[in-house]
Protein backbone atom coordinates (compact mmCIF):
# COMPACT_ATOMS: atom_id res chain seq x y z
CA UNK A 1 0.00 0.00 0.00
CA UNK A 2 2.71 2.43 1.11
CA UNK A 3 4.93 1.35 -1.75
CA UNK A 4 2.15 1.88 -4.24
CA UNK A 5 1.48 5.38 -2.94
CA UNK A 6 5.15 6.25 -3.22
CA UNK A 7 5.31 4.94 -6.76
CA UNK A 8 2.24 6.95 -7.72
CA UNK A 9 3.86 10.00 -6.16
CA UNK A 10 7.07 9.49 -8.11
CA UNK A 11 5.11 9.34 -11.36
CA UNK A 12 3.00 12.36 -10.52
CA UNK A 13 5.67 15.04 -10.63
CA UNK A 14 3.22 17.91 -10.17
CA UNK A 15 1.99 16.43 -6.94
CA UNK A 16 5.49 15.74 -5.68
CA UNK A 17 7.06 19.10 -6.55
CA UNK A 18 3.91 21.04 -5.64
CA UNK A 19 3.67 19.15 -2.36
CA UNK A 20 7.25 19.96 -1.42
CA UNK A 21 6.74 23.63 -2.29
CA UNK A 22 3.54 23.79 -0.24
CA UNK A 23 5.39 22.16 2.62
CA UNK A 24 8.06 24.88 2.46
CA UNK A 25 5.40 27.59 2.71
CA UNK A 26 3.71 25.80 5.61
CA UNK A 27 7.03 25.39 7.45
CA UNK A 28 7.76 29.07 6.83
CA UNK A 29 4.46 30.01 8.41
CA UNK A 30 4.61 27.61 11.35
CA UNK A 31 8.23 28.17 12.32
CA UNK A 32 8.69 31.78 11.21
CA UNK A 33 9.97 32.65 14.67
CA UNK A 34 12.76 30.09 14.37
CA UNK A 35 13.69 30.67 10.73
CA UNK A 36 13.53 34.44 10.42
CA UNK A 37 16.68 36.26 11.47
CA UNK A 38 14.72 39.10 13.15
CA UNK A 39 11.22 39.70 14.46
CA UNK A 40 9.14 41.04 11.60
CA UNK A 41 8.55 44.47 13.09
CA UNK A 42 11.96 45.08 14.61
CA UNK A 43 13.13 48.44 13.23
CA UNK A 44 16.83 48.88 12.65
CA UNK A 45 16.83 52.64 12.60
CA UNK A 46 20.39 52.90 11.35
CA UNK A 47 19.80 50.52 8.44
CA UNK A 48 16.86 52.10 6.62
CA UNK A 49 16.37 51.31 2.92
CA UNK A 50 19.42 49.08 2.66
CA UNK A 51 19.68 47.14 -0.58
CA UNK A 52 20.20 43.38 -0.25
CA UNK A 53 23.48 42.62 1.53
CA UNK A 54 24.96 39.95 3.78
CA UNK A 55 23.22 41.18 6.93
CA UNK A 56 19.90 41.70 5.20
CA UNK A 57 19.68 39.31 2.21
CA UNK A 58 16.43 40.92 0.99
CA UNK A 59 17.35 44.45 2.10
CA UNK A 60 15.44 46.66 4.57
CA UNK A 61 12.45 48.95 4.24
CA UNK A 62 11.86 52.58 5.16
CA UNK A 63 11.61 51.67 8.87
CA UNK A 64 14.80 49.64 8.68
CA UNK A 65 12.90 46.35 9.04
CA UNK A 66 14.52 43.23 7.61
CA UNK A 67 12.62 42.23 4.44
CA UNK A 68 13.67 38.57 4.62
CA UNK A 69 12.06 38.26 8.04
CA UNK A 70 8.96 40.08 6.86
CA UNK A 71 8.67 37.86 3.80
CA UNK A 72 8.95 34.73 5.97
CA UNK A 73 6.40 36.00 8.49
CA UNK A 74 4.18 37.00 5.56
CA UNK A 75 3.36 33.34 4.99
CA UNK A 76 1.32 33.44 8.21
CA UNK A 77 -1.44 35.84 7.16
CA UNK A 78 -1.52 34.31 3.68
CA UNK A 79 -2.13 30.78 4.92
CA UNK A 80 -4.41 31.90 7.73
CA UNK A 81 -6.67 33.71 5.27
CA UNK A 82 -6.66 30.83 2.81
CA UNK A 83 -7.41 28.23 5.47
CA UNK A 84 -10.10 30.11 7.37
CA UNK A 85 -11.84 31.25 4.21
CA UNK A 86 -11.74 27.69 2.90
CA UNK A 87 -13.24 26.27 6.09
CA UNK A 88 -16.12 28.75 6.06
CA UNK A 89 -16.71 28.30 2.33
CA UNK A 90 -16.73 24.54 2.69
CA UNK A 91 -19.05 24.65 5.67
CA UNK A 92 -21.64 26.71 3.83
CA UNK A 93 -21.01 25.32 0.36
CA UNK A 94 -21.00 21.62 1.15
CA UNK A 95 -24.02 21.76 3.45
CA UNK A 96 -26.13 23.67 0.96
CA UNK A 97 -24.88 21.58 -1.95
CA UNK A 98 -25.81 18.32 -0.23
CA UNK A 99 -29.25 19.56 0.75
CA UNK A 100 -30.02 21.12 -2.63
CA UNK A 101 -28.78 18.12 -4.55
CA UNK A 102 -30.47 15.49 -2.42
CA UNK A 103 -33.86 17.05 -1.79
CA UNK A 104 -34.25 19.00 -5.02
CA UNK A 105 -37.43 20.99 -5.57
CA UNK A 106 -37.92 24.40 -4.03
CA UNK A 107 -34.87 24.15 -1.76
CA UNK A 108 -32.74 23.38 -4.78
CA UNK A 109 -34.11 26.30 -6.76
CA UNK A 110 -33.54 28.66 -3.85
CA UNK A 111 -29.97 27.53 -3.21
CA UNK A 112 -29.11 27.64 -6.91
CA UNK A 113 -30.54 31.13 -7.22
CA UNK A 114 -28.60 32.49 -4.25
CA UNK A 115 -25.49 30.79 -5.60
CA UNK A 116 -26.01 32.36 -9.01
CA UNK A 117 -26.35 35.75 -7.33
CA UNK A 118 -22.80 35.50 -6.06
CA UNK A 119 -21.61 34.83 -9.62
CA UNK A 120 -23.23 37.86 -11.12
CA UNK A 121 -20.72 40.34 -9.76
CA UNK A 122 -16.97 39.77 -10.21
CA UNK A 123 -15.72 38.20 -6.96
CA UNK A 124 -13.28 40.96 -6.15
CA UNK A 125 -15.93 43.66 -6.64
CA UNK A 126 -18.42 41.73 -4.54
CA UNK A 127 -15.82 41.22 -1.83
CA UNK A 128 -15.14 44.94 -1.89
CA UNK A 129 -18.85 45.67 -1.56
CA UNK A 130 -19.08 43.41 1.46
CA UNK A 131 -16.04 45.09 2.97
CA UNK A 132 -17.76 48.45 2.56
CA UNK A 133 -20.43 47.13 4.87
CA UNK A 134 -18.39 45.27 7.45
CA UNK A 135 -15.26 47.40 7.35
CA UNK A 136 -11.60 46.98 6.45
CA UNK A 137 -9.18 44.48 7.98
CA UNK A 138 -7.88 41.02 7.29
CA UNK A 139 -10.53 39.20 9.33
CA UNK A 140 -13.27 40.99 7.47
CA UNK A 141 -11.58 40.09 4.21
CA UNK A 142 -11.80 36.44 5.24
CA UNK A 143 -15.51 36.74 5.97
CA UNK A 144 -16.18 38.69 2.79
CA UNK A 145 -14.23 36.21 0.65
CA UNK A 146 -16.07 33.27 2.17
CA UNK A 147 -19.46 34.91 1.69
CA UNK A 148 -18.62 35.48 -1.94
CA UNK A 149 -16.96 32.16 -2.85
CA UNK A 150 -18.94 29.40 -1.13
CA UNK A 151 -21.05 28.86 -4.21
CA UNK A 152 -18.29 27.08 -6.13
CA UNK A 153 -18.46 24.28 -3.55
CA UNK A 154 -22.24 24.23 -3.66
CA UNK A 155 -22.22 23.98 -7.42
CA UNK A 156 -19.97 20.95 -7.56
CA UNK A 157 -21.39 19.19 -4.48
CA UNK A 158 -24.93 19.69 -5.73
CA UNK A 159 -24.18 18.25 -9.15
CA UNK A 160 -22.37 15.22 -7.71
CA UNK A 161 -25.10 14.66 -5.13
CA UNK A 162 -27.77 14.68 -7.79
CA UNK A 163 -25.84 12.09 -9.76
CA UNK A 164 -25.18 9.93 -6.70
CA UNK A 165 -28.75 10.12 -5.42
CA UNK A 166 -29.92 7.95 -8.30
CA UNK A 167 -27.10 5.42 -7.97
CA UNK A 168 -28.04 1.89 -7.06
CA UNK A 169 -26.11 1.82 -3.78
CA UNK A 170 -27.92 4.90 -2.50
CA UNK A 171 -31.33 3.58 -3.53
CA UNK A 172 -30.52 0.25 -1.93
CA UNK A 173 -29.59 2.04 1.27
CA UNK A 174 -32.91 3.87 1.25
CA UNK A 175 -34.61 0.53 0.69
CA UNK A 176 -33.00 -0.91 3.81
CA UNK A 177 -34.16 2.03 5.88
CA UNK A 178 -31.03 4.15 6.04
CA UNK A 179 -31.94 7.61 7.33
CA UNK A 180 -31.43 10.73 5.21
CA UNK A 181 -28.66 12.07 7.42
CA UNK A 182 -26.78 8.78 7.14
CA UNK A 183 -27.32 8.68 3.37
CA UNK A 184 -25.78 12.12 3.05
CA UNK A 185 -22.88 11.54 5.42
CA UNK A 186 -22.02 7.89 4.80
CA UNK A 187 -22.87 7.39 1.16
CA UNK A 188 -22.83 10.70 -0.65
CA UNK A 189 -20.28 12.88 1.10
CA UNK A 190 -17.40 10.36 0.95
CA UNK A 191 -17.94 10.00 -2.77
CA UNK A 192 -18.01 13.76 -3.31
CA UNK A 193 -14.90 14.28 -1.18
CA UNK A 194 -12.29 13.79 -3.94
CA UNK A 195 -13.89 16.56 -6.01
CA UNK A 196 -14.05 18.81 -2.95
CA UNK A 197 -10.38 18.24 -2.20
CA UNK A 198 -9.38 19.05 -5.75
CA UNK A 199 -11.54 22.16 -5.79
CA UNK A 200 -10.14 23.31 -2.44
CA UNK A 201 -6.56 22.88 -3.53
CA UNK A 202 -7.27 24.89 -6.67
CA UNK A 203 -9.23 27.61 -4.91
CA UNK A 204 -6.69 28.23 -2.12
CA UNK A 205 -4.28 30.00 -4.50
CA UNK A 206 -7.19 32.06 -5.89
CA UNK A 207 -8.08 33.14 -2.36
CA UNK A 208 -4.48 34.05 -1.59
CA UNK A 209 -4.26 36.10 -4.78
CA UNK A 210 -7.47 38.01 -4.21
CA UNK A 211 -6.89 38.69 -0.52
CA UNK A 212 -3.37 39.99 -1.12
CA UNK A 213 -4.86 42.16 -3.86
CA UNK A 214 -7.29 43.61 -1.31
CA UNK A 215 -4.46 44.22 1.11
CA UNK A 216 -2.60 45.87 -1.73
CA UNK A 217 -5.57 48.19 -2.24
CA UNK A 218 -5.58 49.00 1.46
CA UNK A 219 -8.74 47.11 2.38
CA UNK A 220 -7.21 44.04 3.96
CA UNK A 221 -4.27 43.69 6.31
CA UNK A 222 -3.28 46.89 8.08
CA UNK A 223 0.23 47.94 9.14
CA UNK A 224 2.39 46.67 10.71
CA UNK A 225 1.28 43.25 9.45
CA UNK A 226 3.92 41.47 7.34
CA UNK A 227 1.25 40.65 4.74
CA UNK A 228 2.78 40.40 1.25
CA UNK A 229 0.07 42.47 -0.42
CA UNK A 230 0.46 45.21 2.13
CA UNK A 231 4.24 45.10 1.72
CA UNK A 232 3.87 45.53 -2.03
CA UNK A 233 1.51 48.40 -1.55
CA UNK A 234 3.84 50.15 0.93
CA UNK A 235 6.83 49.67 -1.31
CA UNK A 236 5.11 50.95 -4.43
CA UNK A 237 6.08 54.54 -3.82
CA UNK A 238 9.75 53.55 -3.52
CA UNK A 239 9.66 51.63 -6.79
CA UNK A 240 12.26 53.88 -8.38
CA UNK A 241 14.61 54.00 -5.39
CA UNK A 242 14.18 50.63 -3.66
CA UNK A 243 12.87 48.05 -6.14
CA UNK A 244 13.89 45.11 -3.90
CA UNK A 245 11.04 46.02 -1.59
CA UNK A 246 8.58 45.13 -4.34
CA UNK A 247 10.42 42.14 -5.76
CA UNK A 248 10.77 39.83 -2.77
CA UNK A 249 7.26 39.86 -1.26
CA UNK A 250 5.94 39.40 -4.79
CA UNK A 251 8.22 36.45 -5.42
CA UNK A 252 7.09 34.85 -2.18
CA UNK A 253 3.49 35.32 -3.26
CA UNK A 254 4.12 33.83 -6.70
CA UNK A 255 5.99 30.91 -5.13
CA UNK A 256 3.05 30.16 -2.83
CA UNK A 257 0.40 30.44 -5.50
CA UNK A 258 2.46 28.36 -7.90
CA UNK A 259 2.99 25.73 -5.21
CA UNK A 260 -0.71 25.31 -4.58
CA UNK A 261 -1.56 25.37 -8.30
CA UNK A 262 0.95 22.64 -8.99
CA UNK A 263 -0.20 20.60 -6.02
CA UNK A 264 -3.83 21.01 -7.07
CA UNK A 265 -3.09 19.90 -10.63
CA UNK A 266 -1.31 16.86 -9.26
CA UNK A 267 -4.21 16.02 -6.97
CA UNK A 268 -6.63 16.35 -9.83
CA UNK A 269 -4.60 14.02 -12.02
CA UNK A 270 -4.57 11.50 -9.20
CA UNK A 271 -8.21 11.75 -8.10
CA UNK A 272 -9.89 12.57 -11.38
CA UNK A 273 -7.77 11.20 -14.23
CA UNK A 274 -10.36 12.08 -16.86
CA UNK A 275 -9.54 15.76 -16.52
CA UNK A 276 -5.84 15.25 -17.08
CA UNK A 277 -4.45 18.00 -19.28
Amino acid sequence: MMKKTLRALARNKNLLVGGIMVLIVVVMALFAGLIAPYPYNEAHLLDKMKPPCAAYPFGTDDFGRDMLSRVIYGAQPALRVALLAMIIEMGIGITLGLIAGYYGGVVDHAVTFVGDLTWCVPPIVLTMAVITMIGKGLDNVIIATALVSWAQYTRIVRAKTQALRGMAFVETAVAFNERDSAILLRYILPNVMPSIIVLASLSIPQTIMSTTALSFLGMGAQPPSPDWGLALSASFRFITTAPWLAVFPGLALVFTVFAFNLFGEGLRDMLDPRLKV
Binding site: C120, L126, L217, A246
Partner: protein, 311 residues
Protein backbone atom coordinates in the same frame (compact mmCIF):
# COMPACT_ATOMS: atom_id res chain seq x y z
CA UNK B 1 -35.26 28.97 -29.41
CA UNK B 2 -37.53 31.94 -28.75
CA UNK B 3 -38.86 30.37 -25.58
CA UNK B 4 -35.37 29.58 -24.46
CA UNK B 5 -34.24 33.19 -24.91
CA UNK B 6 -37.27 34.56 -23.09
CA UNK B 7 -36.71 32.15 -20.23
CA UNK B 8 -33.07 33.17 -19.92
CA UNK B 9 -33.99 36.84 -20.19
CA UNK B 10 -36.53 36.51 -17.38
CA UNK B 11 -33.97 34.71 -15.24
CA UNK B 12 -31.50 37.52 -15.90
CA UNK B 13 -34.05 40.20 -15.02
CA UNK B 14 -34.93 38.44 -11.78
CA UNK B 15 -31.23 38.28 -11.00
CA UNK B 16 -30.74 42.01 -11.64
CA UNK B 17 -33.83 42.86 -9.61
CA UNK B 18 -32.52 40.85 -6.65
CA UNK B 19 -29.10 42.44 -6.92
CA UNK B 20 -30.67 45.89 -7.02
CA UNK B 21 -32.65 45.15 -3.85
CA UNK B 22 -29.51 43.91 -2.12
CA UNK B 23 -27.48 46.90 -3.27
CA UNK B 24 -30.22 49.21 -2.08
CA UNK B 25 -30.39 47.49 1.29
CA UNK B 26 -26.59 47.76 1.71
CA UNK B 27 -26.97 51.20 3.22
CA UNK B 28 -29.74 50.07 5.54
CA UNK B 29 -28.20 46.83 6.69
CA UNK B 30 -25.27 48.70 8.19
CA UNK B 31 -25.38 49.51 11.85
CA UNK B 32 -26.10 53.15 12.56
CA UNK B 33 -28.01 55.94 10.96
CA UNK B 34 -27.72 56.23 7.17
CA UNK B 35 -27.35 59.95 7.47
CA UNK B 36 -24.37 59.57 9.78
CA UNK B 37 -22.85 57.12 7.35
CA UNK B 38 -23.28 59.54 4.52
CA UNK B 39 -21.76 62.57 6.23
CA UNK B 40 -18.10 62.85 6.93
CA UNK B 41 -18.60 64.74 10.18
CA UNK B 42 -21.12 65.05 12.94
CA UNK B 43 -24.01 67.37 12.15
CA UNK B 44 -26.58 68.69 14.55
CA UNK B 45 -29.94 67.04 15.03
CA UNK B 46 -32.11 69.52 13.13
CA UNK B 47 -29.89 69.47 10.06
CA UNK B 48 -29.88 65.67 10.25
CA UNK B 49 -33.66 65.64 10.24
CA UNK B 50 -33.70 67.94 7.23
CA UNK B 51 -31.34 65.62 5.39
CA UNK B 52 -33.44 62.63 6.36
CA UNK B 53 -36.36 64.25 4.61
CA UNK B 54 -34.24 65.45 1.70
CA UNK B 55 -32.96 61.93 0.99
CA UNK B 56 -36.33 60.39 1.73
CA UNK B 57 -35.12 58.26 4.63
CA UNK B 58 -38.31 59.04 6.53
CA UNK B 59 -40.38 57.08 4.02
CA UNK B 60 -41.00 53.32 4.24
CA UNK B 61 -38.26 51.14 2.73
CA UNK B 62 -40.19 49.81 -0.31
CA UNK B 63 -41.09 53.35 -1.30
CA UNK B 64 -37.50 54.46 -0.90
CA UNK B 65 -36.41 51.52 -3.04
CA UNK B 66 -38.76 52.31 -5.88
CA UNK B 67 -37.83 55.98 -5.79
CA UNK B 68 -34.17 55.00 -5.97
CA UNK B 69 -34.77 52.49 -8.76
CA UNK B 70 -36.94 54.97 -10.64
CA UNK B 71 -34.14 57.49 -10.44
CA UNK B 72 -31.64 55.00 -11.80
CA UNK B 73 -33.91 54.10 -14.69
CA UNK B 74 -33.97 57.79 -15.55
CA UNK B 75 -30.20 58.05 -15.32
CA UNK B 76 -30.12 59.51 -11.82
CA UNK B 77 -27.71 57.45 -9.73
CA UNK B 78 -27.70 59.85 -6.79
CA UNK B 79 -24.96 62.17 -5.69
CA UNK B 80 -21.45 61.44 -4.57
CA UNK B 81 -21.06 63.06 -1.19
CA UNK B 82 -17.28 63.14 -1.24
CA UNK B 83 -16.88 64.41 -4.78
CA UNK B 84 -20.02 66.53 -4.61
CA UNK B 85 -21.05 65.56 -8.12
CA UNK B 86 -23.90 63.52 -9.57
CA UNK B 87 -22.78 59.91 -9.92
CA UNK B 88 -24.05 59.80 -13.48
CA UNK B 89 -21.63 62.55 -14.39
CA UNK B 90 -18.73 60.62 -12.87
CA UNK B 91 -19.82 57.56 -14.83
CA UNK B 92 -19.98 59.36 -18.13
CA UNK B 93 -16.30 60.09 -18.02
CA UNK B 94 -15.19 56.78 -16.57
CA UNK B 95 -17.23 53.99 -18.14
CA UNK B 96 -15.69 54.32 -21.62
CA UNK B 97 -12.20 54.07 -20.14
CA UNK B 98 -12.90 50.78 -18.39
CA UNK B 99 -14.79 49.34 -21.34
CA UNK B 100 -11.90 50.18 -23.60
CA UNK B 101 -9.41 48.49 -21.29
CA UNK B 102 -11.52 45.38 -20.87
CA UNK B 103 -12.41 45.18 -24.54
CA UNK B 104 -8.82 45.28 -25.72
CA UNK B 105 -7.78 42.85 -22.99
CA UNK B 106 -10.50 40.39 -23.95
CA UNK B 107 -9.65 40.55 -27.61
CA UNK B 108 -6.00 39.91 -26.85
CA UNK B 109 -6.89 37.06 -24.53
CA UNK B 110 -8.99 35.45 -27.26
CA UNK B 111 -6.37 35.87 -29.94
CA UNK B 112 -3.62 34.39 -27.79
CA UNK B 113 -5.40 31.83 -25.64
CA UNK B 114 -7.66 30.02 -28.08
CA UNK B 115 -5.08 29.16 -30.75
CA UNK B 116 -2.45 28.20 -28.18
CA UNK B 117 -4.92 26.03 -26.28
CA UNK B 118 -6.02 24.32 -29.49
CA UNK B 119 -2.49 23.67 -30.66
CA UNK B 120 -1.50 22.33 -27.25
CA UNK B 121 -4.38 19.89 -27.23
CA UNK B 122 -3.75 18.86 -30.79
CA UNK B 123 -0.03 18.34 -30.24
CA UNK B 124 -0.49 16.86 -26.79
CA UNK B 125 2.77 15.80 -25.14
CA UNK B 126 4.91 17.50 -27.79
CA UNK B 127 7.67 19.91 -26.90
CA UNK B 128 5.41 22.80 -27.89
CA UNK B 129 2.67 21.56 -25.58
CA UNK B 130 5.06 21.13 -22.70
CA UNK B 131 6.51 24.62 -23.07
CA UNK B 132 3.08 26.25 -23.37
CA UNK B 133 1.74 24.30 -20.41
CA UNK B 134 4.71 25.09 -18.16
CA UNK B 135 4.64 28.77 -19.06
CA UNK B 136 0.89 29.01 -18.57
CA UNK B 137 1.08 27.26 -15.22
CA UNK B 138 3.73 29.75 -14.17
CA UNK B 139 1.95 32.85 -15.46
CA UNK B 140 -1.34 31.76 -13.93
CA UNK B 141 0.39 31.96 -10.55
CA UNK B 142 1.33 35.63 -10.85
CA UNK B 143 -1.24 38.02 -9.44
CA UNK B 144 -1.95 40.86 -11.84
CA UNK B 145 -0.96 43.55 -9.36
CA UNK B 146 2.51 42.12 -9.01
CA UNK B 147 2.81 41.71 -12.78
CA UNK B 148 1.91 45.39 -12.98
CA UNK B 149 4.54 46.35 -10.42
CA UNK B 150 7.19 44.31 -12.19
CA UNK B 151 6.26 45.68 -15.61
CA UNK B 152 6.55 49.18 -14.23
CA UNK B 153 9.89 48.32 -12.68
CA UNK B 154 11.30 46.83 -15.88
CA UNK B 155 9.78 48.89 -18.69
CA UNK B 156 9.01 52.09 -16.86
CA UNK B 157 11.74 52.55 -14.30
CA UNK B 158 14.73 50.62 -15.59
CA UNK B 159 14.34 50.78 -19.37
CA UNK B 160 12.21 53.92 -19.34
CA UNK B 161 10.42 52.77 -22.51
CA UNK B 162 6.87 53.32 -21.37
CA UNK B 163 5.01 55.68 -19.06
CA UNK B 164 4.07 54.21 -15.69
CA UNK B 165 0.89 56.12 -15.04
CA UNK B 166 -1.70 58.41 -16.53
CA UNK B 167 -4.02 57.95 -19.44
CA UNK B 168 -4.42 59.41 -22.86
CA UNK B 169 -1.79 58.38 -25.36
CA UNK B 170 -1.64 54.85 -26.80
CA UNK B 171 1.62 54.12 -24.96
CA UNK B 172 -0.33 54.47 -21.72
CA UNK B 173 -2.34 51.37 -22.61
CA UNK B 174 0.52 48.95 -23.08
CA UNK B 175 1.52 48.14 -19.53
CA UNK B 176 -1.95 48.05 -17.92
CA UNK B 177 -3.30 45.78 -20.61
CA UNK B 178 -0.27 43.52 -20.51
CA UNK B 179 -0.70 43.20 -16.74
CA UNK B 180 -4.40 42.45 -17.07
CA UNK B 181 -4.05 39.90 -19.82
CA UNK B 182 -1.14 37.76 -18.69
CA UNK B 183 -2.61 35.78 -15.84
CA UNK B 184 -5.97 35.28 -17.45
CA UNK B 185 -4.62 34.28 -20.78
CA UNK B 186 -2.56 31.64 -19.06
CA UNK B 187 -5.61 30.15 -17.34
CA UNK B 188 -7.68 30.40 -20.52
CA UNK B 189 -5.07 28.48 -22.50
CA UNK B 190 -5.31 25.65 -20.00
CA UNK B 191 -9.10 25.69 -20.03
CA UNK B 192 -9.28 25.72 -23.82
CA UNK B 193 -6.91 22.77 -23.95
CA UNK B 194 -9.02 20.77 -21.49
CA UNK B 195 -12.16 21.40 -23.53
CA UNK B 196 -10.55 20.42 -26.81
CA UNK B 197 -9.11 17.26 -25.28
CA UNK B 198 -12.59 16.36 -24.07
CA UNK B 199 -13.94 16.70 -27.59
CA UNK B 200 -11.08 14.66 -29.03
CA UNK B 201 -12.15 11.78 -26.81
CA UNK B 202 -15.72 11.82 -28.12
CA UNK B 203 -17.00 8.84 -30.08
CA UNK B 204 -18.26 10.97 -32.94
CA UNK B 205 -14.70 11.93 -33.77
CA UNK B 206 -14.07 8.22 -34.42
CA UNK B 207 -17.19 8.12 -36.57
CA UNK B 208 -15.89 11.04 -38.59
CA UNK B 209 -12.66 9.17 -39.27
CA UNK B 210 -14.54 5.94 -39.94
CA UNK B 211 -16.60 7.50 -42.69
CA UNK B 212 -13.40 8.41 -44.45
CA UNK B 213 -13.01 12.11 -43.74
CA UNK B 214 -9.49 13.46 -44.11
CA UNK B 215 -7.78 14.44 -40.91
CA UNK B 216 -8.16 18.15 -41.49
CA UNK B 217 -11.91 17.98 -42.01
CA UNK B 218 -12.27 15.97 -38.83
CA UNK B 219 -10.32 18.55 -36.90
CA UNK B 220 -12.13 21.58 -38.32
CA UNK B 221 -15.70 20.33 -38.67
CA UNK B 222 -15.97 18.00 -35.73
CA UNK B 223 -13.34 18.88 -33.15
CA UNK B 224 -13.04 22.65 -33.52
CA UNK B 225 -16.72 23.20 -34.15
CA UNK B 226 -17.70 21.39 -30.99
CA UNK B 227 -14.89 22.79 -28.88
CA UNK B 228 -16.10 26.25 -29.92
CA UNK B 229 -19.18 25.82 -27.74
CA UNK B 230 -17.09 25.31 -24.66
CA UNK B 231 -14.58 27.97 -25.59
CA UNK B 232 -17.40 30.51 -25.88
CA UNK B 233 -18.35 29.75 -22.32
CA UNK B 234 -14.74 30.15 -21.22
CA UNK B 235 -14.45 33.53 -22.92
CA UNK B 236 -17.67 34.94 -21.52
CA UNK B 237 -16.92 33.61 -18.08
CA UNK B 238 -13.65 35.51 -18.11
CA UNK B 239 -15.37 38.88 -18.57
CA UNK B 240 -16.27 39.37 -14.91
CA UNK B 241 -12.71 38.46 -14.02
CA UNK B 242 -11.36 40.98 -16.47
CA UNK B 243 -13.53 43.65 -14.87
CA UNK B 244 -12.29 42.55 -11.46
CA UNK B 245 -8.76 42.77 -12.81
CA UNK B 246 -9.43 46.26 -14.13
CA UNK B 247 -10.31 47.43 -10.62
CA UNK B 248 -6.82 46.65 -9.40
CA UNK B 249 -4.94 47.69 -12.51
CA UNK B 250 -6.65 51.07 -12.75
CA UNK B 251 -5.52 51.82 -9.22
CA UNK B 252 -1.90 50.99 -9.89
CA UNK B 253 -1.63 52.93 -13.12
CA UNK B 254 -3.83 55.79 -11.89
CA UNK B 255 -6.30 55.35 -14.72
CA UNK B 256 -9.55 57.30 -14.28
CA UNK B 257 -11.94 54.38 -14.85
CA UNK B 258 -14.72 52.65 -12.96
CA UNK B 259 -12.29 50.52 -10.98
CA UNK B 260 -10.39 53.35 -9.40
CA UNK B 261 -13.68 55.15 -8.78
CA UNK B 262 -15.04 52.12 -6.94
CA UNK B 263 -11.90 51.67 -4.86
CA UNK B 264 -11.86 55.30 -3.85
CA UNK B 265 -15.56 55.19 -3.04
CA UNK B 266 -15.13 52.15 -0.81
CA UNK B 267 -12.17 53.61 1.03
CA UNK B 268 -14.13 56.87 1.51
CA UNK B 269 -17.45 55.18 2.36
CA UNK B 270 -19.08 56.98 -0.54
CA UNK B 271 -22.23 54.86 -0.65
CA UNK B 272 -24.08 56.26 -3.61
CA UNK B 273 -21.07 55.58 -5.81
CA UNK B 274 -20.50 52.06 -4.46
CA UNK B 275 -24.15 51.18 -4.98
CA UNK B 276 -24.19 52.48 -8.53
CA UNK B 277 -20.91 50.80 -9.45
CA UNK B 278 -21.91 47.39 -8.10
CA UNK B 279 -25.29 47.55 -9.77
CA UNK B 280 -23.79 48.56 -13.08
CA UNK B 281 -21.18 45.83 -13.01
CA UNK B 282 -23.82 43.27 -12.04
CA UNK B 283 -25.98 44.27 -14.99
CA UNK B 284 -23.00 43.99 -17.29
CA UNK B 285 -22.13 40.53 -15.98
CA UNK B 286 -25.69 39.31 -16.30
CA UNK B 287 -25.76 40.54 -19.89
CA UNK B 288 -22.52 38.69 -20.60
CA UNK B 289 -23.94 35.49 -19.14
CA UNK B 290 -27.09 35.93 -21.15
CA UNK B 291 -25.10 36.35 -24.35
CA UNK B 292 -23.02 33.33 -23.50
CA UNK B 293 -26.18 31.27 -22.96
CA UNK B 294 -27.71 32.40 -26.22
CA UNK B 295 -24.58 31.83 -28.27
CA UNK B 296 -24.14 28.34 -26.81
CA UNK B 297 -27.75 27.60 -27.62
CA UNK B 298 -27.20 28.71 -31.20
CA UNK B 299 -24.14 26.49 -31.43
CA UNK B 300 -25.60 23.47 -29.63
CA UNK B 301 -29.03 22.15 -30.59
CA UNK B 302 -29.16 19.92 -27.50
CA UNK B 303 -29.33 22.94 -25.20
CA UNK B 304 -32.08 24.48 -27.26
CA UNK B 305 -34.07 21.28 -26.87
CA UNK B 306 -33.46 20.71 -23.18
CA UNK B 307 -34.09 24.26 -22.06
CA UNK B 308 -36.85 25.24 -24.45
CA UNK B 309 -39.42 23.29 -22.48
CA UNK B 310 -41.85 20.91 -24.11
CA UNK B 311 -41.00 18.09 -26.46
Amino acid sequence: MGRYCIKKLLQGLLMIFTVSVLVFLMLHMMPGDPVDLMMDRKVDASKKEAMRVQYGFDKPLPEQYFNWLGGILHGDFGTSIRMRQPVSKLFQARIPVTLELCGIAMLLELVIAVPLGLLSAYKKDSLFDRIVMSLSLFFAAIPSFWTAVMLILIFGVTLKWLPISGFGSPSNYVLPIAAMVMGWTASSIRMTKTEVLDVLREKYVLTAYAKGLPHRSVMVRHVLRNALILVTVVVFMSIPWLIGGAVIIENIFVIPGMGSLLTQAILNQDFAVVQACVLLIAVLTVICNLMSDIITAILDPRIRASMGGGE
